[in-house]
């Protein structure tokens, strides 16, 4: 008998979640760049797995009462384009902390919405690992890895990264998405962003 995990209803994000995303001090530019890069990659993983696009992200922003931060498609694009790893035509937008918070909440909100899918993908990944098979041999994972790989290479400027490395990154992010899909996922993501950015 399977126990079912209830999906989270679409409710406006409690202000407390926003308030939980605090910073001990303002990040320096390097840290902010790392935060932007990490956030973009997490969203990229979500896009590759669930096929969500900017519409879903904007919808999430609306439901989270974050329209002021992410009012439209252009604003969203500019936020994501702020990732220094992206191919850029110039005029890169600077992401501030408030915008980073917004993206964190949007990301985790979407991860919660797709938790069943993420869970299924992780379960498949575990099965493939236990049976010593390559992940892409499972259809769901194969599609995910391909989509992640293609989108990464299309958007990111980094040329000297192998497809295997990109795939590993995608699978690592898949497991991360699972933990970000929990009720406290936004805290985990925020802490991971801050701690990771501080290490560089």
């Amino acid at each position: 008998m399977l126990k079912a995990m209830h999906s989270h209803t679409k409710l406006p994000v409690p202000t407390s979640e926003w308030e939980e995303l605090t910073l001990p001090q303002a990040p320096d530019p390097v840290q902010l760049d790392n935060i932007k890069a990490q956030l973009d990659l997490v969203l990229l993983a979500l896009e590759a797995l669930a096929g969500i696009g900017s519409d879903a992200m904007l919808q999430a922003a609306t439901e989270l009462n974050l329209e002021s931060r992410v009012p439209d498609r252009v604003a969203l694009w500019r936020l994501r384009q702020s990732n220094p790893m992206r191919k850029s035509q110039g005029g890169r937008k600077k992401l501030d902390v408030e915008e980073a918070r917004s993206l964190v909440l949007i990301t985790c909100y979407l991860a919660k919405q797709h938790q069943e899918l993420i869970r299924r993908a992780v379960a498949l990944l575990e099965q493939m690992a236990e049976s010593h098979r390559e992940p892409h041999q499972a259809a769901l994972l194969g599609d995910y890895i391909d989509a992640f790989n293609n989108t990464y290479q299309e958007r990111m400027e980094e040329d000297d990264i192998s497809t295997d490395a990109i795939a590993h990154l995608g699978l690592k992010l898949l497991i991360d998405l699972l933990f970000y899909s929990s009720p406290g996922g936004h805290r985990r993501l925020w802490l991971a962003l801050i701690d990771r950015s501080a290490k560089f």
Partner: protein, 514 residues
Amino acid sequence: MPLSNSFVRRYTPPTCSLEVVAESSPLSRWMGRTVLKQLRFVLSFDDPRQLEEDRMTIRGDRYQLEALHTAVTNYVQELLQQSPDRFHAAYFSNSNQESEKEETSSHSTPQTIALNPNPHLGNGVHLQPSNNGLNHNLYLGSLFTEASASVIPLSVLQLFDLATALDEYTADAVTLPTQKRRKFAVPTWAPVAAVAAVAVALIPLTMQLVPKRTQQIASTDTAAQPPQAQLPLSATPATGITPLAVPDKLPAVPPPLSSLPQVPTAAFPTAGTLTVPATKTGIPSAQNVPGSIANPTTITPGTSTTFSTSTNPGGVTFGITPPEKKSTTRTKTSTVKPPSTITTNPFAAASLPSRSEIVSSPLGARKPVTPNSTRRGASSVQPSLATSTVPDTTTTAGQLVDRLGGSPRTPEASNDATAFDTTPQVAEARAYLKRRWKAPSGLKDSLQYSVTVDVDGTVQRILPLGNLASTYVDKSGMPEIGSHFVSANKNGQTSEIRVLLSPDGTVKTFAVSP
């Protein structure tokens, strides 16, 4: 009919079940969330994909649960910060190519990428990646001595579900510290309160006391007393108990002492006795349970103020009120998150608070006392308390606190200490916020915040608890993130201070156990 202060929660993600059984403290009313004590938990790893015989179960108390939660939370965070390279190595750690990889030094093995145990955990509960692909091992360590196995293998999904269940439990309740394993300053009035509890409990026994004792009481009594309440004022050096203050040093205790049962005299055994001083309002005598209140050497005359007030049955019963007379417990049944199922489970002896609760009553704190004295004193009282008369049980905790405090509180009271000042930072935080908190007009409910304070005393994080707190955070007077708030933590640890801002302008602060 289930007792109103029992707390039973079941958190049932797909691959594990966490059942928590505890008593809900009356402090829940103050905190705005369920405050638990005497907690026990059962954690079952019941992944449907596993065979019945492979499923493991662990049990424990609050400390074990918190240790588990801390270990899992920190480990998950470490995993999230792990680089993709390590993930790749872990994925292929148990592959067919493992024998080849062992010969090469370029790939890191799971052992080399094992995460360090939480340095703050001396009990050894920790997790590490296993040798088997993406799995992890939960090492129970010395803390879980009753577990059938010391290591529990977990898949990623099991780890996630375990973390989710633990987080949900943590979000539901705050547990009160017990005196069992934890060292913290116990207010001076705590043993006094315990003695008073004994006094109330033994009221029926005092009915049989020898009349000649009354003469001794009258000679030492410096205040008028109602005939039915006559008390000796004696010290028993043999027990190491210092004499209690004479009545005239004790503040007046407001009613409802009138509802006290008739207590003509008190009879005290000469050994192992702690007596209750008389007060103007008359206080029932107490017969100490032999050996139950031992070595309260720190009960000095200076503590008499709180002692006398604590003999107020209304005050004595603060935190000890039988559950059938209290309506403070909020059993959050329908509000628990969807994955959890709620069952109620009446507690056999759940009507009485633990000793820790007496300790944490917000009476005026004086000097710290040894925990032993309060512990045994309170615990021995419990069976008797259940039968004692409990007047004025509908009073709120705040009113009881005021009564126990005796003298009316003045804004400029030089001694602003409370029983919750377990650390200097708690008092400093309260002083800081008192200067800045001005309740907005129209605010009817209290605002509650969780403030994480860094080692150096600066504010690391402020978490509003509840929508109202979030709404009024700008007007709460809370300090800025990163600003200096309190003095540095001498233990070199971050700490959490719970802040309660009331509409009447009062500020309460509590240290939250890590």
